[in-house]
Point group: D2
Chain length 301, copies 4
């Protein structure tokens, strides 16, 4: 099977693409909810054991997916029903919210590439309070519980010459937050999910996916504090789209795709590092950034 070249950052899609039998594997639990009024589907995949992790190709932890087709439609209220639901789900995975928390929000990705600018866009509109608390103290606020929010847009390696992880580690060691929240653009398998889906996980970020490659992972292991990741699929790998279209066509033609495909794909090297996006990517990314930003602001205000 051509799975090595089919890429998805969504635990939800990994599971969908497993064979029927494999889905029932031990060590992975799945719950689904559907909100009628807001048309939001919430799927909660929990990988509980190393067995489950191997089967899924993702680390042990919780993966919550919100699917909301309305996300990309214009809305005067900026889809506050999605923001509200996102806040509810985030509160379930961010540890320590009952106390006063110091949170570092990290906007990953490249500000100058529309589909990759989700993280920086979210951070641009966040209410930042750590410096105010440091300067004026809690007394300046008329509240009984105050969190401190700081934020960082580290940039991508091609523009910094540094691993994103190095930058975050350095800043975490110096400013000592209690938890890190990273926002990132993901790759989906299906174009249907682009910019309509938000994934929350407490396993951090694993560039290049797979459980093996730990070198640049942005995780609790690497930073010493919990790392919550919020991701939105904004692109599909070009190789994935070709591979999937191929399988679909073969199936329609009643042929068996599996054997020949790998050799055939050898010739597709030029698809490496190529991505598929939609033509309204700028508008859609702006909408989703608002939704995520409003959810975070409401949690930490």
């Amino acid at each position: 099977m051509s799975s090595f070249r089919v890429r998805t950052d969504l635990a939800l899609e990994v599971r969908e693409n497993m064979e029927e039998s494999a889905r029932e594997c031990r060590g992975v639990s799945v719950e689904e909810e559907y909100r009628e009024e807001s048309e939001i589907r919430i799927t909660r995949v929990v990988i509980e054991t190393m067995n489950g992790a191997r089967a899924m190709g993702k680390p042990i932890g919780t993966y919550i997916t919100l699917e909301a087709p309305a996300m990309i439609l214009p809305d005067e209220e900026y889809h506050e029903e999605i923001s509200a639901e996102l806040a509810v789900q985030l509160k379930r995975v961010i540890p320590g919210l009952e106390k006063e928390l110091s949170v570092l929000v990290v906007g990953l990705g490249n500000r100058d590439v529309t589909a990759d600018a989700l993280g920086p866009n979210v951070v641009d509109n966040l209410v930042i309070t750590r410096h105010m608390m440091k300067e004026f103290g809690k007394a300046a606020y008329d509240r009984k519980r105050i969190h401190m929010v700081s934020a960082l847009v580290p940039g991508v390696m091609a523009k910094t010459g540094m691993e994103t992880r190095e930058i975050i580690q350095g800043v975490v060691e110096k400013t000592r937050p209690d938890v890190v929240i990273v926002i990132d653009a993901l790759a989906a398998r299906s174009t249907r999910r682009l910019n309509r889906t938000i994934q929350i996980t407490n396993t951090g970020i694993h560039p290049g996916s797979g459980v093996g490659n730990h070198r640049n992972a942005i995780t609790q292991d690497a930073l010493g504090i919990p790392v919550i990741a919020i991701g939105v699929p904004t692109v599909v790998d070009a190789a994935t789209i070709v591979s999937d279209a191929f399988e679909k066509m073969m199936r329609l033609a009643g042929e068996e795709p599996l054997e020949i495909q790998d050799d055939l794909f050898a010739g597709q090297g030029e698809l490496y590092n190529m991505y598929v996006t939609g033509k309204d990517v700028d508008y859609e990314i702006k909408q989703i950034s608002h939704i995520i930003c409003n959810a975070l602001n409401s949690i930490f205000e």
Copy 2:
């Protein structure tokens, strides 16, 4: 043949993809040159007759392509050898340069989508002189021949609610330039050509290609003055990439792709309005914008 869904805006690629026999069609002439020192290949396709236009699916006119693989490499001199060659080729198609010319440069595309921002980026760095000439007259310049340059970034229909052509027509009627130069991002058929190729044509812009659809064309017919288009392929249609990968694989497998493909493609509707770009699109677009901008500035200074 699946030609209806394979899209390219490059006359060069249309010709490459014609069957051997069809290439020799009357009414289309082709010349090639190669500059050893700068590694620039220049192809000049001239469609001379309606017959040629039908065969090529492009209007009668001249199409000059510069292919320069170096275009996307870093360079301290901003690839002035490519700018210089581009200026040479542009001077051959811009009519009236021997006199004093009033030129309106139009940067088409969406400023907020990286791969579509080529036109706006070029205009952002252009030396604009029309207002100076209007205010201070030719006396202010120590030259014997002065052109007047104005520029416009009309925006895309989704953001203006107006046809780009309507906006340009209105501005042309009001400000009366002698010639319009439009800069636009194009779709190529092959990822190999992305951001390494510049096409110049004196036929203007034909959105959706094909010779039939005249409704929104930005051409001498529509504006009443010559329209020179400078285009760079920055994306490949997702449907095109799938279709081409499919054909290539079928050919490798020794099968004949032509008959079954059309039906199979019926299921690929979700690829509509999806585009493929490379991950360094921001850097590459910036480089090419510089090259085009420098060429224009050198012609009109």
Copy 3:
């Protein structure tokens, strides 16, 4: 008096700065309201006669000012109370809203200078519908009254080489809207008003102010259709700030500033084309753009 170098685009400030006696001039009526709950002060200055126009140095028409100190504070609801009030006031001056209206919204100013980017920012987030109505017709909408919204960011003369008025005239002649709404950043006299004040007027835009200079005015006279202007003071002229500080100091020192000042100012030529802004100008402009955009979207949805 040094009035020739004290600049304000706000009718409100013109009136404030008039001598007590002059304020009672015939031909100018003033009404004030104050909204307790939202802390918005609304001042409605109507210049009714040529006499009034001469006294005020502004054309005959209505000038409504909303002063809302809260405008620059962070707010999760994006200050919807200010948006709502702005919509109420706009509805009083936009003619034809009871019918279906075709509106062209024009975002004046320079996108690349933070304090001047208000107009482009508002337009970037507007819901655009004209092209949808043209393509799908009213049937596509489940409403009994549908307006058509189009939008334009013409850019500034230094970057286009064209008068902004020429561009707007051309587009209006081609696309035939019923009314034009222009959004622009203004100059205030007092730093206290920066980014806390919105002025609505049905007299359009008069660059360089004064009733005399008609050359580049964007008005009903120039365009043949009503022109509503929405302006926000985002800068103070450097010469104005110096002049005002000087007067204030002289007054504190018990001296009479009027006679000597003009000569003294002759040496201040280097303040020409210099502007004063605050250090949070980026955040404040973003907030106000949201407020204006939301008001317009609610009127035309």
Copy 4:
């Protein structure tokens, strides 16, 4: 004297504004050069003793100023003569260039405020090599001496909630460069110098100036490695411009400004945090960013 409210970040202006006698103070040496052909004036102020530091209100170190009026004029060669001269002067203060050096370039300032975006703009166009060297090693380059360049845009405290110094310290400790180069927008005293002057110093950055305030200084003391600062005055403090205009006028009026001014200024609190910029600030910042970026690229290529 009102010196407490007159602010300049330029050592050159500090010295100009000293009384004639004070200029000859021990511990401060000054050299001037003028390049006829490029019209660049180079002033080298060296503060050698604590005495000199107190007199100048600036730390011990070298301050090199390039004044080049041509800097803001359009130029097809991007003012390579100024870049070249800047590179010459930088090589005199960057220690260790004879070896292979790992350099971290930090672009200070706020990307969203035009006059403050100089640092981020320079970094955006820098050739970054550290990650390539780490991945491919020196062998990948056909050179005998290779420097490693990394870059960071930390953002401003209002948007990060963190001291810029904390972020840089964290990143320096993690990535261990040999030297840090910080680029920042400065405040000048005179509008004449805006965007026409580049200051290089080996003393780093001292926010709020003065030798006393060490809390947030970005210096060799704070980072443990040499810190070279490249600064360009892009704004004048509003209070400074008022104060200077006042003095000039009083002097023209034959009066003695010194005694009364301080009290009078008490009323000018609203000028706090207000800045003066020119109307072409976007164009000028873009030009200078290019000049600085080209100089750095030529040193480290």
